[in-house]
């Protein structure tokens, strides 16, 4: 059965579709010409070999398309609003790196979207092979505005203002517009790196030229002497700017974070032992919900083809990503997401980019030390939480923290007494047993935490 990728409609010269678990891209006659030009370049072969562009080969042609390409499948599709600062920056640098290599061989990219990139663990990979086309002399980069809106501006928000960019990207599939950025960068902020040109001037020129068509402006620029060398100089300047953007959370963030890690050494050792024992069965995809510093994601990676480490703290994800990236890890993907407010579907009809739940079809779900945060911290009813776990994966490894536990006490102290009469181990065990066959159970030495491993019941 053929399923068309809902996000691939924007460029009508091609379409991505899935058949028999494989990813294909159908190309129109024009896109087929562009593909042949790309396939003949050295940079494309080198980038595929280095894992920078998704592996691509020609597949059997269909009646509908001139050329059909088969792409390597990405283990888990994530979106820019789920990435940390360093992830978005590395993705942006890869996009610019490939664009520079393409320009050197007479090609360019017709867009500049952060959605052109995906991940193999902690390594970015460019997936939109249909983006490349022969460059036209004297024309600036068509993807510049999209690059600004989906990558450069979000990076500036975080690096210059310390604002988490994820909610901005999640709010709009097209990213942050220059006019909106300009309002945020008033006063002395306009003098921060890149802001005058890429934000203020960009918005001013855009609003003064709103009535000129891009065709007219392209011709004017060509007549005024805009050259291929200038396109290269533009991309080099953007690359230099992006490399200079950095963000580190304030030291106080880590102090606060440490207070959420309250395990005794004995509990920690017992928990590792339990998780390692129940994970010995091979999984293709494991979700680690509330991954923190990634200890259990790394452990799961020994027994899984791929692990997605989900954590709501963007600073923690950023540190985990940097560590994994430096280690060259390609099987653990860290993402930023609040478990009580998971990524919804966004874009056209809310289907262009799928919700987290639609993308998460895991063999194993780790939910260690998260249930109490959802049930007490966010008031999510226990039956809802257990249903949600069953929707995400076939097997669950879950930890229940009793109300008497110091961490649960800290959360309960912020709520009226008696608000959660059903937050009890016996109630949780009953609910878990209705949806899962519990195969293993272990109480941690502290006596206030219990671990379970269950397999989802049929039906």
């Amino acid at each position: 059965m053929v399923r068309v990728e809902p996000a691939s409609f924007r460029d009508p010269s091609g379409r991505v579709f899935y058949r028999d678990g494989q990813v294909f891209r159908g190309l129109s006659p024009v896109a087929a010409q562009d593909w042949r030009a790309l396939a003949a370049t050295k940079f494309f072969a080198n980038a595929v070999k280095a894992g920078k562009i998704t592996a691509t080969e020609e597949a059997e042609k269909t009646d509908e398309w001139d050329v059909v390409l088969r792409h390597e499948r990405i283990p888990f599709v994530s979106y820019p609003f789920e990435w940390s600062f360093a992830m978005l920056r590395d993705a942006a640098l890869l996009h610019l790196d490939l664009l520079q290599a393409a320009l050197a061989e007479g090609l360019t990219s017709k867009d500049g979207s952060a959605y052109n990139l995906q991940w193999r663990g902690a390594s970015p990979v460019f997936i939109d092979v249909g983006s490349f086309e022969p460059a036209r002399p004297g024309e600036p980069w068509a993807g510049y505005r999209q690059f600004c809106q989906t990558m450069l501006y979000p990076l500036m928000l975080q690096a210059h203002l310390g604002l988490d960019f994820q909610p901005w990207l999640r709010a709009s599939v097209d990213g942050v517009e220059p006019a909106r950025m300009r309002k945020l960068f008033g006063g002395a902020r306009r003098f921060k790196a890149g802001v005058l040109k890429h934000v203020h001037l960009h918005d001013a020129v855009q609003s003064r030229n709103a009535r000129s068509s891009t065709g007219e402006v392209r011709a004017e620029l060509r007549d005024a002497g805009f050259s291929a060398e200038l396109v290269k100089a533009t991309v080099r300047a953007i690359d230099k700017l992006v490399r200079g953007l950095d963000w580190q959370p304030p030291a106080s963030h880590w102090t606060a974070y440490q207070q959420t890690c309250t395990y005794s050494d004995a509990d920690r050792a017992a928990k590792v032992e339990f998780v390692e024992a129940v994970l010995s069965k091979k999984s293709s995809l494991t979700l680690d919900l509330g991954a923190n510093d990634g200890t259990y994601s790394r452990l799961a990676a020994k027994h899984s083809d791929y692990v997605v480490a989900v954590e709501s703290d963007a600073a923690v994800v950023d540190k985990l990503y940097r560590d994994l990236h430096n280690e060259g890890e390609r099987r653990v993907l860290p993402i930023v997401m609040d478990l009580a407010d998971p990524s919804p579907g966004i874009g056209w009809r809310g289907r262009e980019r799928a919700s987290f739940e639609q993308r998460a079809d895991a063999d194993t779900v780790l939910a260690l030390a998260v249930i109490h945060h959802l049930a007490i911290g966010r008031n999510v009813p226990l039956p809802e939480i257990v249903d949600w776990l069953a929707a995400l994966g076939r097997r669950v490894v879950v930890e229940f923290v009793e109300p008497a536990d110091p961490m649960a006490q800290r959360l309960l102290a912020n709520k009226p007494e008696g608000l959660f009469p059903d937050y009890r181990r016996d109630v949780f065990e009953k609910l878990l047993g209705e949806r899962f066959t519990v195969e293993h159970r272990a109480e941690l030495p502290s006596g206030t935490r219990t671990l379970y491993c269950g397999v989802r019941r049929a039906g």
Partner: protein
């Protein structure tokens, strides 16, 4: 005399149509000249100079009732 200013030669207009899936933004194209550095800045100045002189030229060549 009425003079039509055609910025895009016919063949190139087709090429432009090929690019049209994404609206690159007129201002986003022009600002790249400034981003490119001194040589690009010269291109931007030339573009605006041509626009300015073009405006005067068009005004001077504007048709009269006698035309």
């Amino acid at each position: 005399m009425v003079r039509f200013v055609n910025f895009v030669p016919c063949g190139e207009r087709e090429a432009t149509m090929r690019l049209a899936y994404l609206d690159a933004g007129s201002g986003s194209l022009i600002v790249q000249a400034v981003v490119a550095g001194a040589a690009g800045m010269a291109v931007a100045v030339k573009l605006y100079w041509r626009r300015l002189t073009g405006r005067f030229r068009r005004r001077a060549e504007a048709p009269t009732d006698n035309d």
